[in-house]
Subunit: 144 residues, 2 copies
DNA sequence: AACATAATATGATTTTTGTCATGTGTGTTA
DNA sequence: TAACACACATGACAAAAATCATATTATGTT
């Protein structure tokens, strides 16, 4: 709805990693892709950008794959989104004007500002593992 | 941010029409496009889909153009958005799953549901002319 | 050294965005 | 009324971006 497919895959894949890695196991891209119903090669490319930005990790070779380092700091959803969509994702104008400011607001700015800020704060507050533990009474739904 | 360029242009153009039409004047596409900084031919095509869906009106020939019928019912933002993005825009899953339901929710559903509903209601409540009158203390900003 | 897998590069495909040419209806004018 | 100009309507086309697929390379494991 508001994210690109790339971001959707990035979040779903990272959720899968957080959910299934208890130690420091690796998951190869085919495992991940079939677990979240995504095109494997495309997903791999997206995960690589997450690796480069130190959101997740990877190792090559046999028994290699992608993983999340449980010992490093938790993965904040906001950082994950920004990593794929770009740093100004939450600061864009709803109507596509070049800047979203109080000084030169578009007609919808006043009404939309609050919701935008709330969404931003929601994603800044929650980590992927937060989401996983909040939902672990039912089963986690990551497939189409 | 959450809309396609098409929808952004649709909203900006309709705002321009509401703002500038006191009687039933027409505005030709070049006037509209330069007023909202949009590609004229592309914008024209978008406005034509709005005409087909009875959101705005148009007349051909000299002194023709696009206009909003002041006597017909106000243009609700929700209807405008749906007309371009499609009828299920506000019912999509944030993570791209096929359905957004309480029965099979994605991990973010619980946290996102409230905000999605609020946004939906915001757009359902406000008409384009509402927005125009709310903002008419400053000058209306529709250009990039 | 052989193998498995991520990383990288590259290309194909699809969707979105934008442009062009032509058709069609409408009003003006002679 | 006939010619003409005007501006939307329509569909073909092009460029750009996003998405998806394949091949090659590099690297770590055994
Ligand atoms: S200026 Fe448009 S949302 Fe802030
Ligand atoms: S199921 Fe994903 S937002 Fe409702």
């Amino acid at each position: 709805m508001i994210f690109s497919k790339s971001t959707e895959y990035a979040i779903r894949a990272t959720m899968f990693l957080c959910l299934n890695s208890s130690g420091n196991e690796c998951f190869k891209i085919n495992t991940i892709a079939s677990a979240i119903d995504s095109p494997p090669f495309f997903t791999s490319k997206i995960l690589q950008t997450l690796v480069r930005q130190n959101i997740i990790s990877s190792t090559k070779g046999p028994n290699g794959g992608f993983y999340v380092d449980k010992k490093s700091k938790p993965i904040i959803l906001y950082d994950l989104i920004i990593a794929v969509e770009g740093p100004d994702f939450f600061d864009k104008c709803l109507l596509g004007l070049s800047t979203c400011t109080e000084k030169n607001p578009c007609p919808l700015h006043k009404d939309f500002k609050k919701h935008k800020e709330e969404l931003k704060q929601l994603f800044k507050k929650k980590s992927v593992s937060d989401i996983m533990t909040e939902n672990n009474n039912g089963k986690i739904n990551l497939k189409i």
